[in-house]
């Protein structure tokens, strides 16, 4: 990834992070859009897996610092998801929006699974409800929002790394 591509990626990720802390509280949906996951995947697929893991770790720490759940759970989940996204970018890195959406859906759901498993602050029934109802819904909403964002920012992201 050249410098121009890196700057563009950083800019887009910054926009997504800002959206995560402005639009998401404004909407306040029960199954909310996770713009951090979109930003993570958008950056991770342009990095090496190790860098992607570190990037995910930093994003996770930011999320943990503002959250009320277990500190470090989001960092763990984003590290793993970022590493996996970067490692699997050869498989999923394509110009197919539907595939990108599915990629986002799986990434968000996996992150929620790790986050809930690491946190494990809820009861069993609530945990099952969260894993099988709310997390898939949030993952679907995130996938849709991510696809929209990718479509809108496509001109800005034309220069991709090989």
């Amino acid at each position: 990834m050249n410098w121009t591509g890196a700057v563009r990626t950083i800019f887009v990720c910054a926009i997504l992070i800002v959206l995560h802390y402005t639009l998401r509280p404004l909407l306040a949906w029960r199954a909310s859009i996770d713009f951090m996951i979109v930003a993570l995947l958008l950056g991770a697929v342009r990095m090496r897996p190790g860098a992607a893991a570190a990037y995910g770790f930093i994003l996770g720490l930011v999320a943990d610092s503002l959250g009320v759940t277990v500190f470090g759970a989001a960092a763990l989940g984003m590290s793993v998801v970022g590493f996996a996204a970067s490692w699997l970018k050869a498989v999923f890195f394509a110009d197919n929006l539907a595939l990108n959406g599915f990629f986002l859906f799986v990434a968000k759901w996996a992150f929620d699974l790790i986050f809930l498993a690491a946190g494990s602050m809820q009861g069993s029934s609530d945990l099952v409800m969260q894993i099988f109802v709310w997390s898939p819904l949030a993952a679907a909403v995130t996938a849709v929002a991510g696809v929209l964002v990718l479509s809108v920012l496509k001109p800005l992201m034309e220069a991709r790394t090989s």
Partner: protein, 386 residues
Amino acid sequence: MASPARLSSRVDAGLLAGCVLLSFIAIVIPKEDREPIAAALRQTIVAPLVSLQRGAERWRSAWAASDRQQMVVDSLAMRAVKANALVVENDQLRKLLGLGTRLEWGFIPAEALHSTAPGEGLITTLTLTAGSRAGVQKYSPVVAGEGLVGMVQTADPSMSIAILYTHPSFAASGMTADGATTGIIYPHLGGSGDPYSMEFRGVAMRYNLTPGTVIYTSGVGHTYPRGVVVGTIVQEMKTAEVWTRTYLVRPAVPPSRINSVAILTPQRVTQGTGNVWGATLNTDSATRRIAAAGDSIAKQAALLQEKARQAALDSMKRATIDSVRRSLGAAVIPAADSAAIAAAQRGAQPAPGAAGIPGQTTPVRRDSSRVRRDSLRPDTLRRPRP
């Protein structure tokens, strides 16, 4: 020696392992130890995001508060509208209740549903929720607390249809409160002004009605009973009629306020409605009667006073004449009333019935002063001469 690719893989794996390890450490460390780390993050690199999140949450709170306030305002507005409607309905029901109390019998209460014929913007008919099973008959008058509404055109078993005073078929004989001015009330069709007005036609030229004059049904034709308020005169209309006048009449019952009505039965129409709407009518009549009675009493009192005064003057005059005559030794002329004396003095014939006239058989009516004077001076009159 490892290839660069394998080295990179090992570096990547190492970074992942390090991140995972650090995450686990962050998870397992006590809350007292991890809170300073989180606070340091919040106060440094995450501070702008915290500010953004706080602003967004404030916006959301303001939005929700605005929505709640709007809902409260809407609810209050709805309640205000309902309250106004309830006030109007309550007023109408009170009037209808008062009408029912005044009518006492011979009426059928009903709800009036406004119906507009297709292609017409004017309400000319009403659907009433009482039908022939309740005693409603065709041509029964429909009234409200304020006055005349219309007439039943069709009476079905459970409902009926009435024509309003705006219907082209509507006509009623009308009169003023004193009954002196009569005419026929028709709907005001096709003219300028309020389409819900009426016309009071056929008024004789000699009657000039002023705006505000109340028009009642006259009872002629026996469709509407006498004395139901129809409306008030607004102004005279310019028509081609030469010998009669036509007036524009504002209805007593606005169409928008016709919700609850009473349908008069034929028996009630035959026997009349009495004073139900005739407060003004009766007041006028009573005022005139009282004024006439007052005038009559005043005239009678003035007449009596004049007679009494004349009688007193006559008595005084007679007493004076008698005294003079007695003092002069002349014979006393029998008492006569002033008219006879005056006639005698004028040398004319006295009025019939006057006392002291030859051939008069009518006993002389002596006034009190004469009697009193006679009773005081009997000796001077009848004392025999020596």
